[in-house]
Assembly symmetry: C2
DNA sequence: CGGGCAGTTGACCCCGCTCAAGCGCGGTGG
DNA sequence: CCACCGCGCTTGAGCGGGGTCAACTGCCCG
């Protein structure tokens, strides 16, 4: 857990649409105030139920945000990727974190103290509207997730999740998804048991919908996967 | 569908914490611009997928917000009660409505055009922060909902929903919940089949946890209901 | 009186969870 | 260097929660 302290992280401004809204002066001040650390796979940024004293901006890497059920099972709510901010829900709602943020792929994270984040919001209404837009989109996604988990069966949900990962993380030169999850994490995302994910993945593989190589997943037939995911009978 | 047009709705300012943030001048202008209608049970304010041209403020009554699954089944996402605003998610995210808003209990609704709502946000940063706070709380609730539907069984969820309705709507003099839902709506809220809700309600009744009289529900043993809802084994 | 809708109950059975066993692989220590 | 361990993955067997279908009732309303 020996995090390497970085002094600069200009790339945040490049990667993140949000920070394009702030003025040159505001950016300069922010550069002084913010605080960057590198993180390794498995590191926890913050834990569900803890108080957060600021917001985080993901410079590089992948973060999973999950809640833990009473029996200890992880339910993954969403991921953050390069350029995303997180932790702002807790800061703005004035509540403890409702999820745990854990590193899935090594990267670096910038920290912006809550007071300064709120100052930016009050000073710059364009920035404020962008943050609102973000939280409202997230809310729309969460609502869709509720419908899916409540009404779709596991096969439909798994197909949908694979397509979603494809949209969010894209593929490498060989067509493999740019995110590597354990079967257990996939199960925590779909909201099912690990064994169910394994069985369905091998069914998809047998039907030539996907190709599997350890944790590398390649989508072969997106059209059919969409068909499955949307419960067209 | 002949909505009665009201000219005033000052009570919005009284009921709604949000609008306490705006100045006297802003309130006066808002009073001119906004537009109030009464609605009857079953009326639809807007439909999932449609574009919304402003936000709504519920003066009186109860609104259910639901998504419709591919098989036509309603999944209720949340309710609005007196003083709540809704539709802002769609306006701020710049997306079509992600839910249908339908009247559960007669009441009146004020409409504020999107342009004016956005103007208020830009002019008044306190108001902006309040709106953010609202959307972030809603997001926290949605995340919790995802966990519950994914990991709890139907009995646990039904107990939790009853407690939630109790918290949100309270009870009348006789201790009955101040919201009347059909069994089908309850099922759409819990995320299960109507028959399952009926069976579990009569089980709860048999075990003296609740009292039933048509759609009136009275919680008799909140402690035990909490115990059931939290999956303490 | 008849039609329709909400509610209820019973029967059936399938999806998906759980438990258990076995495999492959990488890391660690003797 | 090999033996061992533990973790992630896989597969099979079993079963129970809960979804579906059907039938019946009570009630409201035309």
């Amino acid at each position: 857990m020996d995090y390497y302290k970085l002094n600069t992280c200009e790339s945040c401004f490049v990667n993140n649409d949000l920070f394009k809204k702030i003025t040159k002066d505001q950016a300069d001040i922010l550069s002084y105030i913010k605080n960057c650390n590198t993180y390794k796979k498995g590191d926890t940024i913050y834990t569900e139920g803890s108080r957060i004293s600021g917001i985080y901006c993901l410079n590089k890497g992948i973060i999973k945000h999950y809640k833990t059920g009473n029996d200890g099972k992880e339910q993954i709510i969403r991921f953050s990727k390069t350029g995303d901010i997180f932790g702002y829900r807790s800061v703005l709602a004035g509540e403890p974190a409702c999820t745990t943020a854990k590193v899935v792929e090594d990267g670096s994270v910038c920290f912006i103290p809550a007071a300064h984040f709120l100052k930016l919001i009050k000073e710059n209404s364009d920035f404020a509207v962008s943050v609102m837009k973000l939280s409202c989109k997230e809310l729309g996604d969460a609502n869709q997730y509720i419908l899916d988990i409540a009404q779709k069966n596991v096969k439909e949900r798994l197909a949908e999740i694979l397509l979603l990962l494809n949209d969010n993380f894209g593929t490498d030169n060989n067509g493999n998804l740019n995110i590597f999850l354990t079967r257990e994490e996939l199960a925590g995302l779909v909201g099912t048991a690990t064994e169910s994910v394994i069985r369905l993945l091998s069914e998809f593989k047998k039907n030539k919908l996907i190709k599997l190589d350890k944790r590398k997943i390649k989508l072969l037939d997106i059209k059919k996967l969409k068909h499955i995911s949307q419960s067209y009978y």
